[in-house]
Assembly symmetry: C2
Homo-oligomer: 390 residues x 2
């Protein structure tokens, strides 16, 4: 069975890019990834681009072809994959399977979203397409409302508090302050979060990830070849994906995310590893409650204990299980299609010891957890560093 | 290297489905495919769904998760792939690579589009997202205009006539009249086409494929296993994909489709076959000129001779190289995301000898050609029938 490794990565700054277009963003990330991999464009045999709602954000579909064109990569095969906010993770997994199939040796995968070309209301409606249009969005339930339902259920069942949710945001802003690509490079306090306005009770403004423009790209390579051409390849040791009902109405329990549990259990079973072996994780904290649900589903703490685990500082950069060292979606920003790729980039930087001020000490095994919608898709990857060419 | 075969297929009628929703259409096609394959839903390990512009047609993204949910297939991995009008072909190729990778043995692939929930102007704008928003659609160039430019160039360079274009429509309607799933089950004449109104000179109304609702699905299976569980598996003997510039402005020549040529050359090289070995082809005739460009790019006739080749009846059902026995996009209809899958279904029916009144005699090798945009993506598959279980 062929193995797949990452040999290069590139990422724009995440934020409000008033002067850069969708295509400029992905070109910037793509070119950086190609240069960092030390290859040339002509070495790339195929590409997969993740973008959630380019049709509604910028009036453009056919994103795969656009990226190939923009990067001068014609006539390679170029395809867009979409799994809502897990579109980046889906692009990574598609590229992974394409290399694993033997069809290609070197594949580029990327993610991009330009969200600020439309107003906030339009953005909320476009993002609502990640949920169930017929049973949720049509009736006015945008994403803060859906996650608020999950938060409320978790609070009632396990006693999780609004202050514990706030701690997730505080921790992720603290990490983002150390990340030069992050949208919010400043710390906040629990008090600031608690005093921010309610968006959908119990979630407040500072419980929510922002609207962000950005792009991220990776170069994937078959592992034996990767070791020949790259000094520090990052091997993808697990790639798992699972689904759940599109609508919250279809779920038996709103206080857990079944797709994430399924994906994690499968990844740990196949690799023979356990949650305690993971040195850090980038998880999909589109709302603070989402990080609590994630760390429970991934087995980093017992079910219902995510709030307490966070409050005790265990997910901090120097905690026993650092979560979202990059700042996460909350602090780093959330250009939806790019997020899953950006998570993988943080994994590379941490495992290569290049995460500078936010470096997790002794990081040897990383995990990324990318979610679509209110949990209908979960895509999970695990990574370790390899010795490459000297 | 693992091989991949089709063991089941399902397709809705193509047309204007005022009483069926997007999710009802894909459920109908999916369930038919599962039943025809003689498997159960729980045997399916992953799915790929092609849909071009569901965000703009029905306000819904996250189509992979929607399909898995609708078909009761949770928690399997479910992903949407998008390559504009080649989204169906892209879903097929994604499933093909996923099985080839060894990750899965049985995968469902499908395509669906519900286009009539919006008005014609909105549909034209949504479809325009397959081209280049910045250099084409924004300036008013919708798809008839882009293909009209290609038609005009072909006419000027090779002397192709409007009557020859009309012959494509006449032939495809004739075939569609024999296809109980087709949108237009009636014949037309060259005179009718010539007298239909100009949409974008030289293309007239009856040179254009229609706005269509529909869905189609396939069950893919690793070939050795397919032979055990299926009486008449159809092996995918080639799967190729290539890209070209997104915008016509980037192309050196408008009278040929480079991505299709690249994909075809690669398919023939890898299989050791030649165009003359193909017994029939389903090609992407979104406009009549597109079929002319396709049969030239695929090598069925010399460059520039596509019009004459058609006029001489060589692409007719009883011709030397039957093209679009199903009726093609022009006669069968073009629910964009579903088209690439529907083409593969026609290939299955022909190779299994089940195409009834439109059966191509002695069909042993089939080819499908699915195009995104004005040719920025081309996805090509070739198929042959296998002996399965008795």
């Amino acid at each position: 069975m062929r193995s797949v490794s990452i040999i290069g990565h590139g990422c724009t700054e995440f934020g409000e890019h008033w002067c850069k277009s969708f295509r400029q963003l992905i070109a910037e990330a793509g070119i950086e990834a190609i240069m960092r991999a030390g290859i040339e464009g002509k070495d790339i045999q195929a590409l997969y681009g993740g973008s959630m709602a380019s049709g509604r954000f910028i009036g453009q579909e056919h994103i795969g072809a656009l990226i190939a064109d923009q990067l001068g990569l014609n006539p390679i095969a170029a395809t867009r994959v979409e799994n809502a906010c897990a579109s980046g993770g889906a692009a990574l997994r598609s590229g992974y399977l394409a290399v694993k199939s033997g069809e290609y040796d070197i594949v580029a995968v990327g993610g991009v979203e330009k969200m600020t070309d439309v107003g906030t209301e339009q953005a909320a409606i476009a993002l609502g397409g990640a949920g169930d249009q017929e049973t949720e969005l049509f009736h006015g339930a945008t994403f803060p409302a859906l996650y608020a339902l999950m938060a409320r259920t978790h609070m009632e069942k396990f006693g999780t508090t609004e202050e514990q949710l706030a701690q997730v945001a505080v921790k992720n802003h603290k990490n983002a302050a150390l990340n030069p690509k992050a949208q919010f490079q400043r710390e906040i306090t629990v008090d600031t979060v608690m005093k921010s306005g309610y968006i959908s009770t119990p979630l407040k403004l500072l419980d929510c990830s922002p609207i962000t423009d950005g792009a991220a790209a990776l170069i994937l390579c078959e592992t034996e070849k990767a070791k020949e051409i790259c000094e520090n390849p990052i091997e993808i040791i697990a790639s798992e994906q699972a689904s759940d009902t599109l609508s919250l109405a279809g779920r038996k329990k709103l206080y857990e995310t079944a797709a994430a549990k399924t994906a994690a259990e499968s990844a740990f079973k196949k690799t023979g590893l356990k949650p305690g072996d993971v040195d850090f994780a980038e998880v999909h904290d589109c709302f603070t409650i989402a990080e609590i649900l994630a760390i429970e589903a991934l087995g980093f703490c017992p079910q219902g204990q995510g709030g307490k685990f966070t409050e005790q500082g265990k997910t901090a950069l120097n905690g026993e299980m650092p979560v979202n060292p990059s700042g996460g979606l909350k602090g780093k920003g959330h250009p939806v299609g790019a997020t899953g790729i950006a998570q993988a980039i943080e994994a590379c930087l941490q495992l290569q010891g290049k995460a500078e001020k936010r470096q997790v000490k002794g990081a040897k095994l990383g995990l990324t957890h990318n979610v679509g919608g209110s949990g209908a898709t979960c895509i999970l990857h695990m990574y370790k560093a390899l010795e490459g060419k000297k």
